[in-house]
Amino acid sequence: MKCRVCKKRAVINLRAQNRGLCEECFDAYVLDRVERTIKRYKMFSRGQRILVAVSGGKDSLGLWDILARLGYEPAGLFVDMGISRGNYYARSREVVESFAQSRGLELVVESLEAWWGRGIEKIGRRVLCPTCGMAKRYLTNRVAADRGYDVLCTGHNLDDEAAVLLSNLLNWQVGYLARQAPVLDSWHPRLARKAKPLVLLTEKESALYTLLRGIEYVEEPCPYSQGATTLRYKRVLNQVEWRSPGTKQRFYTLFLKNKGLFEGVAKEEREGLKECKRCGQPTWEGLCAFCRFMEESHGDFGREVSAGDQV
């Protein structure tokens, strides 16, 4: 197959767009696509303070690389949850640090231990993936909001978003549907504005970009990962995609077009918000999920550090 643009040998067949692209044209395509996504959804602009949540995986490192090449000035944020099994966080951190160093990018490193005196493996009896994810989102948001970043970016791609959408629809999670978006405004001083600049790139495109750029990343998931359900939905969607190219993108972008359907729910949720009694984060309960979890894990917080001291 030849490149549609320059006739050189193609490295990818973009079936949804009915064209092949060579290595250079694919690179240009990715940069252009991400730039358009940022503009189309009014995510952020040059000169703003941008924070990218980096895990060490292909999508987040690829995103960080793309934003830097596009002339934004993204800092990276790595949150160490204190998982030592398989040396997981130590290896991820190494990969992220060497990436930042080689490109002269600013990296912020935070750890659950620095905030609470211990890592997630030491809290409660079992480490549960959803709990760790919740705590990680909490810390990520805190760092972004407390340090005054204009926007927090994550590396979610089209396959991630389409799979979450399918899952939310199959379970009619209207609250989640109301909140699922490529960009979320901050509607509270303690909530960071969030953006997902890779939402119009498929996982295959994201992987190819990272490979062609020679970016080193951690391939395996976290040793405690329970991402099996999302993976199943991704595979189902890819089966449909193979038969009808473009399905994933239509599924996601038409959902965004029709999101007004859920505006009532979204408004109701915003109006029901209170502030967490412990930390001031917006929540629907007296305590936010993070503080509630900390209290339930036996009320003993070790040498708890006041979060305010950290920033």
Binding site: V11, N13, L212
Partner: protein, 63 residues
């Protein structure tokens, strides 16, 4: 014989074969993999020759 590896799985193919035919035969969805022949990323219409080293990379993250 073309040697094909994918995450611990291995095949040896004696005749030249089209990438797409191979993937379909093995039940691998082309949307979910990148195929490298002798270190170069190729599209599904490429042909694997008997002397080629082929690597198939799974692209979906599991976490």
């Amino acid at each position: 014989m073309a040697k094909i590896v994918m995450e611990g799985r291995e095949w040896e193919v004696k005749r030249r074969i089209n990438v797409l035919r191979f993937l379909e035969k093995e039940g691998i969805n082309p949307e979910e993999v990148l195929v490298l022949i002798n270190g170069k990323v190729v599209t599904e219409d490429a042909v694997m020759e008997p002397q080629d080293e082929v690597k198939i990379l799974w692209v979906l993250s599991r976490g």
